[in-house]
Amino acid sequence: MTDSERNKLIVRPAQGPLAWLFPELMALVPQNDLDPVPDRLDLNRQGVCGAPLLEALAKHSSRNVEIEDGPRGHALWTWLSQALDREELIGERPGLAPKALSTEAMTGAEGDFPLEAFLKHMAGLCDGKGTVLIEGLRKGAVKARTAPLSRKQAGEVQKRLKAAPGDLLWLLPLAPSSGLGDRLQACIETVAKDPVPFRHAGLFPFFDTALNEAAKDGGEAAESRLLPSWWGILPGDHWPRPIRVRYLELLRLLHPDRIFLFMTLENYALAGVDCFVEGVMDRFGTTAPRRDKKKSRPLILGICGTDGSGKSSHVAALEAHIIGMGLRVCVHKIYRHGVFHDTVTDLTRRCAGGRNLHLWRLQRIIKAFDSMKYFYSSLERELDEHDVVIFDRYVFTHYAAGAGRYHHDPFARELLSPFPDADRIYLLDVPTDEAIRRIGTRKERTVDENEYMLSRYRHALLDLADRCGFKVLDALAPFEENKRNILDDAERLIEARGLIGGEK
């Protein structure tokens, strides 16, 4: 072993979304082929992520770190090279092609599995180009391949497998090509005749792509920008929805119990949300909203609600009342409608026809960044100069928008963490149909101003209210009644803070 090899730390990424969908694939994690290397960090065997992972790597600061090739290695490298700021030590960015799988323990075969019929069915799906293949893996017998085999090669594999049919796990790699749709359809028809043997065999179909470099012949414009770690879940950037629909049909026949998990993973893949990196960097373990310990922090009040709930009127009334108490107060809107608003609307328009769905996420990020820009340019210094700061919408609107738009917002809490915790949020809750009626006269509608999105925002805010202790007010109640409730409560908070009575 050379000095260079001795000084090397090899990192093997944890299994990713494809194995989340098919945990049976965990059995394919190589166990022994790293033995010659003196030191390694196998995230499949050492449960470590987030800060502990960074600390573990920091201990090897004098060594060269090499991350294994493959889509997840690529994703892991991207995060680590930024988080550790030592790109030169992490070595080259891993390639996107997955390393050939090797087998250790296979499970799933039934004793009475009709192997002959099964092989006959599946062999019939091969077209000689080897683009739709079934591969059976057996312990210690066959190196799994995700690259297409020729018909002859497939026949040899099948011949060998026939001789030893026990303990098999079957993979069905689907390589994008111009005829993939037809072959998927043929596969669906075959399995649909009698899905039970195929289910019991543990047949796992997945897209065998080269990610963004996927073949484009026959494809359409990008539906998404496929992130590396989603390898296996999507057919690639340029493959139209019909291919995905057919895959879903096949999956429904083979694994109906996993359909909704697959749809969830596919949804995030299309939206460009990198769940694998989020999990490995443990975003949620490290991004709790900041607790502002500054004694001089002003009282933070916020009024939230969907469009048409009457926030602005109450904000004005609250501000006037606090000014009347002789306190220094200011009002801020961190959720702005400015130039960027037109920009993000344009971006969203580019999603027409089901394309560029990843731009939905970009739209959210831009809005959150705009709030941060506002924080540093207009708000931060005012926190030191006022007794009370009133927000017309607060960070919770971002949270609700994230959950409302794509069911999971991995970025807002982290991006918005500099905003101080609110002392009180008043939520003006208005039924969706009434909100629609109130905003109906506005000239310009946004993508959010419709019954579906408003109802989602409303419910997300109510959920946050429940968990974060908002004061919920019925926006249908008389204005004066809600105003009195807000002012009385705000006065109590101001007194409790000692802002009146000589203790400012």
Binding site: W20, R241, L261, G279, F284, H407
Partner: protein
């Protein structure tokens, strides 16, 4: 008679919702009984991987005239979703029936049972059969001697395989051993409830006019009131999809920080490759989302994009 599907975030680690599985098993038995008596009642136990709207359209296309929604406690939101989809398809969902299991949480008592980490550590450490990475974390309710239609296990070559069969699909996964933990809560009298349900279905299929679904609900106040008490409850307003994310987290035990820490330590130790997924699930719970329910409700980005884009495309 329709039951919404089980939604499983972590098929490699947790069992399906056993309460739901047991209800599905009971319904399957009921279906057999009714078929043998010649009643034309169709059961859909939600195992076909169809979204709510797909289910509703299929029923409409089949010409189904009358529908009863049945679910376990954790199915409440899904029943709301399905009910809404049925209405959108022009079908009357009637009044759903949800099992009433107050004080009997299949998973929580078990979660409580393994709450002591020191004890759990010792327990697992001394048990070589649970050391392999292909074992599952088994959380089971009170041992029942009779085979259950909902969750079955097959022993093969010294190993037990988790296997659910029937119309609600299969989830084969190898386990080293099944452990039965004693439950503190009571087990409801399912025979009573099944008989009551049978009577209800027979009554419906023989004597009631189509769409008179209110009559079904009236049984709650009728002579069978006592027998129904254990089985059904008045469903309150279901959470809309955006804020209904708690049930699965409660079932997994990650809604409580102490249990979440415990399960994370178990995952770290025995299923290290799945740690990123576990952390993602904790994060999804933190933001109050439930993506699987969103998919069931047909709220995927691809599904909703088209109608939302229309609002801003000139």
């Amino acid at each position: 008679m329709i039951m919404p599907p089980d939604l499983d975030y972590f098929p490699g680690l947790f069992l399906p919702d056993l309460e739901r599985a047991r209800l599905a098993g009971r319904l399957a038995l009921l279906a057999e009984r009714l078929r043998s008596r010649g009643h034309g009642v169709r059961f859909d136990l939600g195992g076909q991987g169809l979204t709510a709207i797909e289910t509703a359209r299929a029923l409409r296309d089949e010409g189904v005239r009358r529908i009863v929604l049945v679910g376990a406690k954790n199915d409440r939101v899904k029943i709301s979703i399905l009910s809404e989809a049925l209405k959108q398809s022009g079908l009357d969902p009637g009044r759903p029936f949800i099992t009433k299991q107050e004080g009997v949480d299949i998973h929580r008592p078990l979660a409580n049972r393994i709450e002591s980490l020191a004890k759990m550590d010792l327990y697992l450490k001394d048990d070589p059969t649970l050391g392999a990475t292909d074992s599952c974390l088994m959380i089971l309710e009170h041992g029942e001697a009779q085979p259950r239609a909902g969750v079955q296990f097959r022993r093969k070559e010294g190993r037990l395989y988790r296997l659910t069969e029937g119309r609600y699909g299969s989830i084969p996964a190898a386990v080293k051993e099944i452990r039965f933990f004693p439950m503190d809560g009571m087990v409801p009298d399912w025979i009573d409830s099944e008989d009551a349900l049978t009577a209800l279905v027979i009554k419906d299929s023989t004597s009631l006019e189509p769409y008179h679904l209110d009559d079904w609900a009236s049984l709650l106040d009728g002579p069978m009131k006592d027998r129904f008490r254990l089985f059904v409850e008045e469903p309150g307003p279901g959470h809309p999809p955006a804020c209904g994310g708690a049930a699965w987290a409660v079932r997994y035990g990650i809604d409580r920080p102490d249990l979440r820490d415990l399960i994370q330590r178990i995952v770290t130790r025995f299923f290290p490759a799945q740690l990123p997924l576990f952390r993602i699930l904790c994060g999804i719970y933190e933001v109050g989302a439930d993506p699987l329910e969103e998919m069931y409700a047909g709220n995927s980005l691809a599904d909703r994009n088209a109608e939302l884009i229309k609002l801003i495309v000139p």
